[in-house]
Amino acid sequence: MRGPAGTPAARRTRRRLAADAGLLLAAAAFALPLLWVVLSAVDPDAGLRVRVPDALTLDHFDAILTPEITFTPLLNSLVLCGGATALTVACAALAAYPLSRFRSRLNRPFLLTVLFATSLPITAIMVPVYALYVRVGLIDTVHGTVFFFAASQLPFAIWLMKNFMDGVPKELEEAAWADGASALQSLLRIVLPLMGPGVAVVTVFSFVMMWGNFFVPFMLLLTPDRMPASVSVNEFFGNRGMVAYGQLAAFSVVYSTPVVLLYVLISRRLGGGFALGGAVKG
């Protein structure tokens, strides 16, 4: 027989407290490196440890907010990732439409190939891509890098987009078809607006993945002026003997903020950010 502490309500409370304690410990461990970057960015004597600054300063931000260190690389990142994301989302939306709407014997093999390609290690093909790009003259070009970025993100974008599109009932379009609308018109005017959150997820996810990607531009671009932030920061800070940790932290904050904000934006719209986990699960 259970003692008084074993009543279901008391047990639930105890379990909740235990879960809270465990999670807070995990959260603290995960937060330490994050705290370092935030605190060091405003600490005049920033070092490698997490510590509460004696004074606050914006000098580090002042020092890095120059065209050479911050603005040009961020603009390069924006052009590369923005261009590639636009291409990815457009191609994925077009490709997902027939896959979601029409029956065909080719759908299944095509989707299986796409799913297979989503999980290929892109890192592994960067050496041959480099050799190929040298041969066809695409090396060190922005458009060449955009094309490769788009192609590498496309399988996952098609897969996600098709799943979201399946959620839009077909009946809504049938009326438009009866009125003589073409497939393209019904895609643009009916389906895509109805799956706005889905399109937002695909867009943001592709953009975030590319914004943070280091290896692709590291391999395919050579001219320092064309480098996105992911590569330039490594060159700039890594190649100097003395690393200015405060500036490094300040740059990391500036470079990371856009993607963190974008993620918060879509996870709010999707109710908690757990939707992507569900979508990936297949």
Partner: protein, 288 residues
């Protein structure tokens, strides 16, 4: 006739995606297969020649290659199988029981680590594991011995870095999977007096086995292609002690100028990846 034409017309929107995928994904993969059997070098060579399996023979005889294979295995098992997967499941399970503020806070912190750009994550964990970094500060405070982690145990340091960065994905996948278990099932097990671990093993895990399989595959594939994180933290060093296959491949192709040999290593990596990818597809199909 008309049916074929209609089918063709309907397939037109797929064309841009197919062209892009063929030119920039299938093309390089095919080129990878060809190049792996040549002796192409980075500079000063008019024509590369076909060398058969020389590159692969050379790899098997190279201690640095075998070292990289071993380290890749350690990195994958520690960071993906043991780390991200187990920690992700534990966090997902705890999140369901925790109070709302704690849930929101933990979710936000873990997901932020995941969303951060790879290079930034590398810098943060470099600072964390350095001799004068935060980890040693915490160890000092706990009166535990501190050391220069990036020198003594570089492969463990980068593995933990990958756990820090990748656990959110497993947590999200498992949270979604646990949400699908009907409440009656867990309650029935509780009433029957099954303890926490037995409930996990006999009730929860069998019900989410599809998510477990998916998560393991995707984690492993992601872990196999980690480059930037290790590059920023250790560059594969000191003296190759955190050099996983992608870093070995890069070093051979560019620092030693042997593109052909580097591509052969890439092909092996691609084959391992494809194997996992096929397993993943089979898993989705049999369980669906």
């Amino acid at each position: 006739m008309r049916r074929t034409r209609r089918a063709l017309l309907r397939a037109v929107p797929v064309a841009p995606a197919v062209v892009l995928l063929l030119l920039f994904l299938a093309g390089p993969i095919a080129y990878c297969v060809v190049l792996a059997f040549t002796d192409l070098q980075l500079t000063g060579q008019a024509e590369e020649s076909f060398v058969g399996f020389d590159n692969f023979r050379r790899a098997l005889g190279d201690d640095a290659f075998l070292n990289a294979v071993w380290l890749t295995l350690v990195f994958t098992v520690v960071s993906s199988l043991l780390g991200q997967n187990t920690l992700g499941l534990a966090l997902a399970a705890l999140l369901r029981r925790a109070s709302k503020p704690v849930r929101t806070l933990t979710g936000a912190v873990v997901i932020t680590a995941w969303v951060l750009p790879e290079v930034v994550a590398g810098f943060l964990l470099y600072a964390f594991f350095r001799r004068e970094g935060t980890l040693n500060a915490v160890l000092d405070w706990l009166r535990l011995p501190s050391q220069n982690w990036l020198f003594t145990l570089p492969i463990l340091a980068v593995s933990f870095a990958n756990v820090w960065r990748g656990t959110a994905f497993s947590m999200l996948v498992y949270s979604a999977a646990l949400d699908e278990i009907p409440r009656e099932v867990t309650e029935a097990a509780e009433v029957d007096g099954a303890g926490g671990l037995r409930r996990l093993w006999h009730v929860t895990l069998p019900m989410i086995r599809r998510a477990v399989g998916t998560n393991l595959m995707l984690n492993t594939l992601q872990t196999l292609s980690v480059f930037g994180l290790i590059w920023v933290m250790t560059r594969g060093g000191p003296s190759g002690r955190s050099q996983t296959l992608p870093l070995y491949m890069y070093e051979q192709a560019f620092q030693n100028s042997m593109i052909g040999y580097g591509t052969a290593v890439a092909l092996l990596l691609l084959l391992i990846g494809s194997l996992f990818s096929v397993l993943y597809l089979r898993l989705l199909r049999t369980e669906a």
